[in-house]
């Protein structure tokens, strides 16, 4: 029956060539950049945090839940950072040469790192500022580039070295439990395959191959993928059947079950140095020497977001935390020795940040606004309390009458749905003015560029609505020298936007028709009209150029077809 009064809907403009997607918005929400420069600006070679993987024991799950550490390897140092505070907790500097691949175990207690000298060391992470060396192996004679803990077994780890071997280690024993040979060049990347327990490993080498090893099978690799460039990084997807390998500037997607490459991703310009999983394995983030970080979705490997860093990227990681393992930080380590941490606030933290921002904004406006904000807060608090009280009341009474009336509606499927009436949005002042026919006042408000809620598209929405209601002229006429200027300025500014041009032209026609005769009497008006004229002639010039170009292209096309 009676229709509800709704605010004027914002105009839906045609999307431009690259609209902002939710994905981009998500990755943009990694803000609050914090940079750490490593000692002597050593390049950040590796960033890692304990991966959950397929955990076996309950204690391990509990440990990862409360894990607050991630390790950053740079030069002959490994820094341990706190995820919550985003600050270094301790530094392990007991390396004789360049350190590689500092990795914290899944329970967060110990860390392993390799070294240019070929030595591998295991450190105690917890307790004390000075890390205790728990274990040292010096079996590799060439630099060890990869040391990784098994995600399932606490005592198993692997290593890859420039001596062309991949080795599997057991923590208590002094010798490797298995040595894989087959690579013909430096092995610079490697990993345990998820789902394969401690048995299946994968490694990528400068001999341009990715090899899959099975500890149960004797002899060489069980699967080899040949690439065109040295392999810098391998990353298995959580499913355990797909593997990503960064070869040169390309990333290849390899299917282990079908034993064939699925796809080659060539979005980077220079060598891709690092890969990381994000969003619980549904996204992959890559970093490259061209300074770009790109985010891929994992079904058809499209780039969903991308950002640029000032220096070549050597390492990156999307640090997840919390019980749901949601993305917390985007940590990027660069050649310049800078570790950039970008953080996404979520849940209560985001709420708090919003509140603080609102308070700051209110303080900027004045004490009145601050008071209003406080009153609002108090009101909200009271509502929460009263609803809580109502809940408690409900425990020992039979019928609770809700404060908000509910309506029972039969929906399309014939089901009965109880609907709480939506809190009706209050009309804004300009919307109310528009509805009640005070068009000029409404127009003044949306054109006020100093207003915090000023958006060009709001002004456009109102101007188009006025045109639809045959009220554009009414809203424009009857102004004086001061009140006409904002509109004149707005028109001149937005004339160049193709989505605005129609309305701008109409408004400009009305302005000329109504106020053209007063130009002689007002300098300011004359100035603004001159500016409008200039922007129109600029547009005409552009259009002429476009026409000339199109004519040239057309003649080329005709020449081509004949």
């Amino acid at each position: 029956m009676a229709a509800e009064v709704l605010p004027l809907a914002q105009l839906k403009l045609p999307t431009g060539p690259s609209p902002v997607t939710p994905e981009q918005r998500y990755w943009k929400s990694f803000r609050n950049q914090k940079s750490h420069t490593s000692t002597a600006a050593w390049p950040i070679s590796h960033i890692s945090f304990p991966s959950t993987g397929a955990t076996t024991s309950n204690s391990l799950v509990a440990a990862t839940k409360i894990n607050d550490l991630f390790a950053v390897t740079s030069g002959p140092r490994v820094d341990i950072f706190s995820i919550r505070k985003r600050e270094p907790l301790k530094t392990i500097g007991r390396f004789d040469s360049e350190a590689h691949c500092g990795e914290i175990r899944a329970d967060g207690r110990v860390l392993v790192a390799g070294e240019d000298s070929g030595r591998m060391q295991v450190f105690d992470v917890g307790g004390g500022t000075r890390a205790v060396i728990l274990k040292t192996w010096h079996i590799h004679k060439q630099p060890v580039w990869v040391t990784k803990w098994s995600p399932t077994e606490l005592t198993t780890l692997m290593s890859c070295s420039d001596d062309k071997t991949v080795r599997l280690w057991d923590l208590p024993s002094n010798t490797p439990s298995r040595m894989f040979t087959g690579h013909s060049d430096y092995v610079r990347s490697g990993c345990f395959m998820p789902g394969g327990g401690i048995n299946i490993l994968v490694s990528g080498s400068y001999d341009e191959t990715v090899r899959v090893w099975d500890a149960r099978a004797p002899g060489g690799s069980v699967l080899t993928f040949k690439h065109a460039d040295p392999i810098e990084e391998v990353l298995p997807l959580p499913g355990g059947t797909t593997l990503l390998a960064a070869a040169g500037s390309a990333i290849s997607v390899l299917d282990l079950v079908a034993a064939k490459p699925l796809r080659l991703i060539t979005n980077h310009q220079k060598t891709v140095t690092s890969l990381s999983l994000a969003s619980n394995g549904r996204r992959v983030v890559s970093g490259s020497l061209d300074g770009h970080v790109k985010v891929f979705e994992t079904s058809s490997w499209n780039v969903v977001s991308s950002s640029k860093y000032p220096s070549p990227i050597l390492s990156l990681s999307v640090v997840a935390a919390g019980s749901t393992q949601e993305d917390r930080h985007l940590a990027v380590g660069m050649q310049s020795g800078v570790l950039s941490l970008r953080t996404r606030l979520s849940g209560t933290a985001a709420e708090k940040a919003r509140e603080r921002a609102a308070e700051q904004a209110a303080r900027d406006i004045g004490p009145d606004a601050l008071e209003r904000l406080d009153a609002q807060k108090a009101n909200r608090k009271r509502k929460v309390l009263s609803s809580k009280a109502m809940d408690r009341l409900g425990e020992n009474v039979d019928v609770v009458i809700p404060t908000q009336p509910t309506t029972t509606v039969v929906n399309a499927d014939g089901k009965v749905v109880t609907r709480r009436p939506k809190h009706r949005k209050k009309l804004k002042q300009w919307q109310r003015d528009f509805r009640e026919g005070r068009y000029a006042t409404a127009l003044d408000q949306v054109l006020d560029t100093s207003h915090p809620e000023y958006f060009p598209v709001t002004a456009l929405t109102l101007l188009v609505a006025l045109r639809h209601r045959s009220a554009l002229r009414e809203a424009i006429e009857g102004r004086d020298e001061v009140t006409v200027l904002p509109l004149l300025r707005w028109v001149g500014k937005h004339l160049s936007d193709s989505r605005y041009v129609g309305v701008c032209v109409d408004a400009a026609f009305h302005l000329l028709d109504l106020y053209g005769e007063y130009v002689g009497g007002s300098d300011e008006l004359a100035k603004q009209f001159a500016a409008l004229c200039a922007s129109v002639s600029r547009e005409v010039e552009k259009a002429t150029m476009a026409m000339i170009t199109s004519g040239m292209v057309e003649s080329l096309m005709i020449g081509g077809t004949e």
Binding site: T408, V410, R435, S470, D506
Partner: protein, 964 residues
Amino acid sequence: MDANGETASLKKRKREPKDEPSPLKRHRSKSKSKSQANGSPSKEMKSLVQSTVSISHPADDDMELSGTLTTRNELAQVPSAAWKVSNPMGGRMLDIDPIFSPDEQYLIITYNTSIQVYSTVDSLLVRRIALPLATSEPGANLSAVHIVASALSKTSPDHVWVASTDGRIRHINWTSGAGVDAPFTIETKKLLDMVVESAEFGDTTKDVLIVLQKLTGSTAQIVAYDDKALSAREGKLLHTCDEAPRLVRSAANGKLIVAAAKATLHIGLLKKRKATNSLDDLEYRFYSFNAPDLVACMDIRATTRTTKKGAIELGQVDLVIGGARGAIYLYNDVVSKLPSDGFNSSKSGSIQPRKSHWHRQAVHSVKWSADGNYLISGGYEAVLVLWQLDTNKLDFLPHLSATIENIVVSPGGSSYAIHFDDNSAMVLSTEEMKPTTYVSGIQSLVLSDQPSKEAMVRRVWKAPDEISTPLVTAVNPLNSSQILLCVGNGQQATLGGAELSTPQLQVFDISSCQGVAKHAIARTNPTDANITSQGAPIVEPRATKLAFSQDGKWLASVDEWQPPERDTEAFVTGSKTADQVCHERREIYLKFWKVGSEASSLELVTRVNEAHHTNQPETIFDLVSDPTSPRFATIGNDGLVRFWTSKLRRRDGLATTGHDGQQLRMWSCSRVVPLPTSVKQDSSIQPGVKRCRSGALAFSEDGSILFAAFGEPSEATIVAIDTETGSFRDVVYGMFRGEVRGIRSLGSCLIMLSEDLAVYDIVSDELLYSFSLKETSKSAKNLTQLAVNYESRSFALAAPIPNTNQDKMKKGMKSELVVFSLGDQEPKLVQTFPQLITSVLSAVSSAGYIIVDSAAQIWSVTEGAEQAPLLQPLANLGISEGVGAEMEVEHMENVLEDGEASDEEMQDVDMDGDMEEDYDTHPAVVAPQRLAEIFNVAPAFAMPPIEDIFYQVAGLFSAKPVQP
């Protein structure tokens, strides 16, 4: 069709076999494979000869017969055994107060061609009493005849009196429909208004009709009739008023009569007499005085008191009038303020009324509430205003669907019946202001009989008096009884002038003859003021095309909007005309909607702003849907054919999902096919001189070929486009004379409508037959429509019958429907319709057509023994009265028993009595279409088990459990 093969709107093409077939100069250019097959010159010649032979006929007749109207009698001779036309349903509610039956069980609504009785309990149509309005006398001006008043008889509540302008008054028993064919006729130039009162003549009480009838140009008489006087055609003259009176009202058993003539009120008081024995004894004393404004409507509230002697005399009389300029004037106790010096014909006196002004424009209806404490008024603002007289407080029921035309307070005072301009009526309970009954007919534009009350004052706008564009309609392919009509907000939609506003889509169920839903498919402003500050109505967009996808899940629509010329004065510079300026600022949207179940919801999926454009948005000539797959095609003035298909909505390669996880789809242009432009246009590029081009599209039945006709008048070509590759299979030149108005494909034939109707076999390259159309004016051409039914292999052409007297498609114009079977050039059916046909639809999954006319009526044309899919009123179904309500109670009992049976099988029946009462007071209201859904799923022999049906019905009627 008469002897020379001519109908009222069609003329056979005459061509001697030896004639140069110049109008049909045809050039075929084919793809290679085809030209080898049958492109040889000899074959071409042969086919031409064939075609001319087939269209030749005895040449002795004079072909230039003027388009005289084919009357019904002549039509009866046409052998049309196979095809038949049903009785019409629906109609347009007239601006006459709806009538409550005394027990408030029924609402009697006066339509333009019928009286319809609705049950107030369940909104169902109980009886439709068709009124034959056309007189048998030749030469009568049919357009003028319409019903002006209907009133319930005071002496027998089963009868209504219905008066029409030609002086015929019918005494109709609305419970049986009797009395339609025996009208009383009174001698008058024009009957203006009528009220019914009762009077005691001796011992008998009789109905007395007080009739306002036209005497000369501006004077009119008030004449009283009783049944004797009606038979004798001689009434008792009571008073003569001048200044073109329009309204007469009476109160208190005829003790008081008030007539309104422009701004003058005439009040007649019954002279007291000892005894009235006959009509002649009724005598009135008339007073007249000036009202401050033109009277648009009025209402009287009169109390009577009994004197000591036992006689009844008039007590206080309160008169309220609604002005044409929006004010309401209240005359309290008007009788006592009348000058006491007796009869006063000169308008010397004037009584000061109390003025209340809220309405912006004319007050369409004002009524007293039953207790006299409130006034209820309504008008163009679509707001029901309740005036509390003691406190001057206003209450509103705002944002109603359309202009309020009439308000009636029920006899008991517990509900209001409101008639809206959008052809709907509603009964509101006064306590909660909630609707209890809702009746809604086809809301398309009609040719109205009376000028609107708005027209009493000169306005900045002028309502057009003709229908010049066809009604845009579509049939839901999933539910053959649902048709969708693009409608505006009632007749108000015409106020924009030439640009009709039809931003809404009405879903109308023809099997129940009820509007099911109404969706806004373009911009509407239901909650904003509907006029500008200058008083001009706001123009809303006009939906021009509508098409369902083959699976019924998608709906495509095209709407256009352009600013009215009055807004564009500032933009006219240089050589541009206002028309061009408006054209440049057009907004043409192609929209794709996701259709919910039963067309109950529409969700906008994609909006394409300028589907066809050059340097400005271009008209979309046609929108068709592929009969085999969900795909649409459009053709525009830019000479392009675009195919539209849906695809998964992706963002960065990821499929986006809706709230409930289902994948979202969007529509986009999948293929663009530029059409060949005629040679002439290429050679002489004349900027500025733009000839108006036209185009049409038709998919072949298997969806493999799209036929596109496009070009300038008489130069249009037909291109057969392969829908898979987009290549041209065939090009046919010179098939059209004048503008392309439509093409349809049926089997191997192409039916083309321009100024000719031609049937062309595309495979054998042969013109089977052609007719030329007789219509003359542009709007007549617009209203010529073509529809194809695949089921019966037939096509139907609806065209207005040309009238030499008037070009405009005004009231009184007739239309003709001609149905052809594909193989036969003799039409299967030629039928004249008394109103203009505004839309022809091919029925889905049956061999027939549905026709909507300019009186908002719906007709069904069916072949053979097929049942018309239209609603039968309850009365026609042989159900006795009141069964509607009783049936529900029975169902209730059943439900109850069913519920009990589950735990206590052998429950005794003695509880039933009081439970029944309980339910009786709260009867469940079930939409008739819900019942129809259950019972119409299959023919009788294929129905589901009776038990299932029972549970479905029980489910409908049992009360829904209230959610905690």
